[in-house]
Amino acid sequence: MEKKFKPNIVGFLCNWCSYAGADLAGSSKTDVDSSLSVIRVMCSSRVNSNLVLSALLWGSDGVLVAGCHPGDCHYEKGNYYARRRFALLKKIAEVLNLEPDRIQLSWISASEGKRYAEVVNKFAEDISKLGPNPLTSNPKV
């Protein structure tokens, strides 16, 4: 039987909400898919497009950006700006047909360990279905 594809996913989690949510998921022993490599950032607005693009072009199969729910950002407005930038990047991926589904934006609070697990597991499942990122094996990239 063919070996099941295990994706390589990068997750940028904001320090104050989503990272704490991930922590909670861990400490409460919730099952979280292990394909996600977590990078802690101070705020979702720290994630500029270069980080997401570098990840996608240099080998990851999916990128998750996660931050506090709108209204709850530790820096008040960071996630609103992050959402606009994300919407732009997603549109660029759409226009150039670069599989926009490989990037995802989610809101996860510090108390939402369960939601964290659900979001990550679902994203990992979706990316597994998409298969390996063709950009990383494309000799033209």
Binding site: L53, V95, N97, V141
Partner: protein, 395 residues
């Protein structure tokens, strides 16, 4: 969806028509000479042909004798006017009153640069002119005389010729638009042997008044002809957009175009919007340790050099495409003829629509990435919260 746009101000419906006696150039220059003589402004930024050469550059003209070499509509766009203007006005107030004669795409770039704090507009009068387009720089360099001659014919007839730069063939914003763009516009279309001055701001009004002109001539003829051409060029633009969407239907379409890229970053250096002193993509931030590259080349079978070509282009896009004014300066500057301006312009079209933004149209419209609404873009959130919000509203 968002809607940042404030109500757009319409351009006026009266202007000042002036008869053309010797030439259009002469008529336009007479206005500028008078303005300089009467100290309405102290200097004029205008394109000029460098004596004894085929080169065009910008001059900040204060000596009237230099009108001999100035040219309001040269056959080529060497340096984008927005770039020329910000190069001397970004480090503080100008002090002197300056007027700049720009093509409409250049003026739109100036307005984007104003929002990015790269120009001083307080002491600046922006003047635009109906633009017949420009010829590709490389073609002109090959045979300046021939290209200048054909440009003359094309521009006299306002022909959407295939010899023009692709950006110009597809340009539907070659004239004055409704909005708070330039202070003064010079209309060439419409009546033969007439030049029409259209004041588009209080500063523009003031300028005409000081020159002793009253804006009471009808703009109908200019408007009719302008709109006819706008319609024609909009159609052309739409078919260009369709064609390029088809070409980039799969990612290789985009990569194939860019695989010729030699990573010179000319496109970025020529782009008026790319103003950063140190570009991220020229920095060490995108370099890894050698072993990473060896590992990647092992994984892929081979690694392509130069590295990060796609990161540069898609990354640059994600930084500035909402402000792309489709001027084509990038494409003109590319040594290997990559249609980089068309690619950016195509992505610009879609993304600018997403944010209801027209770059360079209104000085007051904030840059889309510098504002937000609390309730917007739920469609990019996962889980998709749009439905939840809709049911909440019903409750």
């Amino acid at each position: 969806m968002s809607n940042n746009q404030k109500e757009t101000k319409n351009y006026p419906n009266k202007g000042k028509s002036l008869p053309v006696e010797k030439s259009i150039k002469d008529t336009v220059f007479n206005i500028f000479k008078k303005a300089l003589e009467e100290n309405i402004f102290d200097a004029l930024l205008i394109p000029a042909k460098v004596p004894d050469t085929d080169a065009y550059s910008w001059i900040l003209l204060q000596d009237e004798s230099l009108f001999d070499i100035a040219d309001p509509l040269p056959p080529v766009m060497t340096v984008q006017g927005g770039r020329a203007l910000s190069s001397f006005s970004k480090n503080g107030e100008l002090g002197l009153k300056i007027a700049a004669l720009l093509r409409p795409c250049e003026a739109r770039a100036v307005i984007e640069l104003f929002k990015l704090h790269q120009v001083d507009l307080d002491n600046m009068t922006l003047i635009t002119i109906d633009c017949p387009g420009a010829m590709p720089l490389a073609d002109y360099m090959n045979d300046p005389k021939k290209i200048a001659d054909s440009f003359k014919k094309i521009s006299e007839k306002w022909e959407i010729s295939e010899s023009l730069r692709p950006a110009c063939q597809n340009c539907h914003r070659f004239s004055l638009m409704d909005g708070t763009g330039p202070d003064l516009h010079i209309g060439l279309l419409g009546e033969n042997n007439k030049v029409t001055l259209i004041a588009n701001s209080p500063e523009g009004n003031d300028l005409l008044e000081k020159l002793g002109f009253e804006s009471k001539d009808s703009l109908d003829k200019w408007k009719t002809e302008k709109e006819k051409l706008v319609k024609e060029k909009t159609k052309k633009r739409e078919s260009f957009l369709k064609e390029w969407q088809e070409k980039t239907k799969n990612p290789d379409g985009f990569f194939n175009e860019l695989n010729k890229c030699i990573n010179c970053h000319n496109c970025m250096n020529a782009c008026p919007i790319c103003y950063c002193q140190q570009c991220y993509f020229d920095s060490q931030m995108i370099n890894f340790k050698p072993e990473i590259y060896l590992k990647k080349s092992r994984e892929k079978g081979a690694l392509r050099f130069p590295l990060n070509t796609m990161l540069f282009h898609i990354g640059r896009m994600s930084h500035m495409v909402l402000s792309c004014v489709a001027c084509g300066a990038c494409e003109d500057a590319c040594p290997v003829s990559i249609p980089v301006g068309r690619l950016f312009s195509m992505v610009g079209d879609k993304t600018q629509k997403q944010f209801d933004y027209v770059p360079g149209l209104n000085r007051e419209d904030p840059l889309p990435l510098q504002i937000f609404k609390e309730d917007e873009f739920c469609e990019v959130e996962t889980p998709n919260e749009c439905e939840e919000k809709a049911t909440e509203e019903v409750k």
